[in-house]
């Protein structure tokens, strides 16, 4: 059984401008001990999806199911949720400075976390555990640094302290929302290495949310690509990078500056991400797609089997063979050229 199974998750917010459909029918699974990478640009719904699972989206309208160890997190009572959150599912966010309370010592915050979930632990024992945890995540002189305030830590150390806190109760699942985006590359390498080591040691499953395909290539086992609140493609890591099917995945990979190629023009995806308010009826990527067909603008493509790799799904009407794909691309290119000539 999957550790976490999200089924047809929908999240929307009522705003003055209309209903924001942040997440539209998202499904994915996380197996114990595995790393699931969720990639997508700003506004793709990747963070909202995971925050909803954790019960952190207030005022949202939510449908669907999120089964964690067989229990639905979305219908769970508040008290049950509090028991799961932190103890069974740990969470780390992008900005470690705003997730640590500036007023309390780092050690105190870890102690509070431990004692909140297990009142039987004495203060002294919890403090000892906090020091062990800080040592585990590679904070030098943990017995002294435990009494520091967050501002006395560097960015990398704060993120490690957050990880220490998230791992304090040995959760079965760690949700990391852009954990290294605010960090320098060398520190990012340290933190990613640490997450994978902790994962090996404790068998924790990880959901890693990121916009950086490089990070995905380093750590993820399975990948979910999101766009406009929907899953565009999902597969194992190697399939996503080598035999992707969805034009959005292709666009994302091609817009990266090649790490070894010539200095030429980058392939950019034209246009802007769609508005989450009253999205168009068809595929959300259709207005920017290089292969767009008439059908794409009216009919929403379902997530269907896309390749030979097990679990490779793609939400796209595009046929699988390369020849038809190329032909379509040339056709769309021709249309846009005549269009710009008329203008």
């Amino acid at each position: 059984m999957a550790l976490l199974e999200v089924k047809d998750l929908n999240v929307s917010f009522r705003t003055d401008d209309g209903i924001v459909q942040a997440v539209r029918g998202v499904s994915f699974k996380v197996e114990p001990g595995q790393t699931l990478g969720i990639v997508g640009e700003s506004g793709s719904g990747k963070s909202v999806a995971t925050q909803t699972i954790m019960g952190l989206t207030r005022g949202a309208e939510v449908w669907g199911q999120a089964l964690f160890e067989g229990r639905d997190l979305l219908t769970m009572s508040r008290d049950d949720m509090v028991r799961v959150r932190g103890a069974k599912i740990g969470m780390i966010f992008q900005d470690p400075l705003s997730s640590l309370h500036p007023f309390y010592r780092v050690g105190w915050q870890i102690v509070e976390m431990i004692r909140l979930h297990d009142k039987a632990v004495s203060k002294a024992a919890a403090r000892k555990r906090a020091i062990e945890l800080l040592e585990l995540v590679g904070i030098p002189q943990p017995d002294r640094r435990v009494d520091d305030f967050p501002h006395q830590f560097s960015g990398g150390m704060r993120q490690r302290a957050m990880i220490a806190m998230a791992m304090a109760l040995n959760p079965a699942l760690l949700i990391a929302d852009e954990p290294t985006t605010a960090l320098d590359v060398t520190v990012q390498a340290q933190v990613l290495q640490m997450i994978s080591r902790l994962q090996e040691e404790f068998g924790t499953a990880v959901i890693l949310i990121t916009h950086d395909l490089g990070v995905i290539a380093e750590v993820a086992d399975d990948v979910v690509v999101m766009y406009g609140g929907m899953v565009m493609e999902q597969a194992d890591q190697v399939t996503i990078f080598t035999s992707y099917h969805h034009p959005y995945t292709e666009g994302l990979l091609q817009s990266l500056p090649a790490y070894g190629g010539e200095r030429e023009r980058l392939h950019s995806i034209p246009g802007q991400p769609p508005s989450p308010i009253s999205p168009p009826p068809g595929c959300p990527f259709a207005p920017r797609c290089a292969y767009v067909m008439d059908r794409c603008r009216t009919e929403l493509p379902p997530l269907t089997v896309a390749g030979t790799a097990p679990g490779h799904l793609s939400a796209c009407w595009l046929p699988r063979d390369q020849a038809t794909r190329e032909e379509l691309r040339r056709k769309v290119l021709g249309q846009s050229l005549t269009l710009s000539a008329e203008l």
């Binding site: 640009e41 520190v187 916009h211 990078f241 500056p257 790490y259 034209p270």
Partner: protein, 372 residues
């Protein structure tokens, strides 16, 4: 477009002056910090930029990379004279502008422009886009009324914005479009030098590619010179002709872009390059990662000798004692400089090296990382 060859040839002949647009010599910038001592005779200083010399040639892009706090943005702001320098000189297009007053700087302000990281913070949300882009004309009193409108609309067209959106507010534009507004504003007077301070860091990858393409098109069309600051090394590699790597206020290494990537000489450059996550799962597994211990030390009391020695896997006693010069190493050409006593040989794996200095001079970490 590549001017490397001609510029390098000129430099070798010793007549580089004609090609050099910007020359920075022994630039030092210290920021005083308030002391916590009750009686403080001696003030502490943040050594933000410490004795940096470099040249930017006409028409090229110089990439400036380094981690948070390495002084790359401070250096850029000193060059643009947004900060006064502590010592050293900045020569722009043959004129020493280091000590120029605000009034004497004014003509140079047109020629040196900046593009900032945050397209949300750098545009006033309550002003219309047309008037934001028209600011340079208003400030320098060069065009007004219908003439100013016309020039603003030309600029908008140049950077790929719809000129009809002249009357909109910044909030009506997406992040990528806002960055185009920032570019349009910088281009108003056809500057010679544009300093791009992390221009694409806040943008999504698909939009990032649009802006990078725009910058390179503009460079080709208008013959612009860029100083391109970024922490994303693959972006820097993509846009730069030459790259300078900074660490703790000093230049660790400087070389033509490809040279730097293929033959990094400074162990810090090597570590930095190996830390970049590659979007290529097949090679990610094979690659040797050099994981540096600890964090960048405080720039208030930088380490003695080579500033990288506490974290360097190749550190020796000499590194603690003497600050290495920025010179060609291991028979490299005159344009590849590294400040290292024990430069990295081609094919050497520095993650196998162990530092040969006393433990108290090293940054040591406990736990998992030390066991790595």
């Amino acid at each position: 477009m590549r001017l490397d060859e001609t510029a390098a040839a000129a430099a070798e002949a010793g007549t580089g002056a004609a090609d050099v647009l910007l020359k920075v010599q022994n630039l030092v910038k210290y920021f005083p910090v308030s002391s916590t001592k009750l009686i403080h005779r001696e003030r502490d200083y943040v050594h933000a930029v410490d004795d940096v010399s470099l040249e930017v040639r006409r028409g090229e892009t110089l990439g400036l990379v380094g981690e948070t706090g390495c002084g790359k943005s401070t250096l850029a702001r000193c060059v643009a004279r947004l900060y006064d320098v502590t010592s050293g000189t900045v020569t722009f297009d043959g004129t020493d502008i280091t000590k120029f007053s605000a009034r004497r700087m004014r003509p140079f302000r047109r020629e040196i422009q900046m593009i900032f990281q945050d397209p949300y913070g750098s545009l006033n949300p309550r002003r219309r886009v047309g008037s934001i882009i028209g600011d340079p004309f208003a400030i320098h009193r060069t065009a007004r009324g219908a003439e100013r409108n016309r020039r603003v609309q030309e600029l908008m067209e140049l950077v790929g914005l719809n000129p009809e959106h002249y009357n909109r507010f910044p909030a009506e534009f997406s992040g990528g479009q806002r960055q185009r507004i920032g570019v349009a504003r910088a281009l108003a007077f056809r500057p010679k030098l544009i300093i791009c301070d992390e221009p694409v860091s806040a943008l999504d990858v698909s939009i990032q590619a649009q802006i990078l393409n725009l910058l390179s098109d503009l460079q080709r069309e208008l013959g612009l010179t860029y100083i391109f600051i970024a922490h994303d090394l693959s972006v820097v590699r993509h846009v730069s002709h030459r790259v300078a790597v900074m660490y703790l206020g000093k230049i660790a290494e400087q070389a033509p872009s490809e040279q730097m990537w293929v033959h990094p000489r400074h162990p810090y450059t090597d570590a930095l390059l190996s830390a970049v996550p590659l979007p290529d799962p097949e090679h990610a597994g094979q690659r040797e990662r050099i994981i540096l211990a600890g964090d960048v030390p405080s720039p208030i009391n930088p380490p003695s000798g080579c500033r990288f020695h506490p974290r360097c896997p190749k550190a020796r006693q000499a590194c603690v004692e003497a600050d290495p010069d920025l010179v060609p190493r291991l028979g490299d050409g005159a344009d590849h400089l590294a400040a290292c006593h024990f430069p990295v040989e081609d094919g050497e794996d520095i993650s196998l090296s162990t530092p040969a200095i006393a433990a108290e001079q090293r940054v040591v970490e406990s736990g998992l990382i030390a066991g790595a």
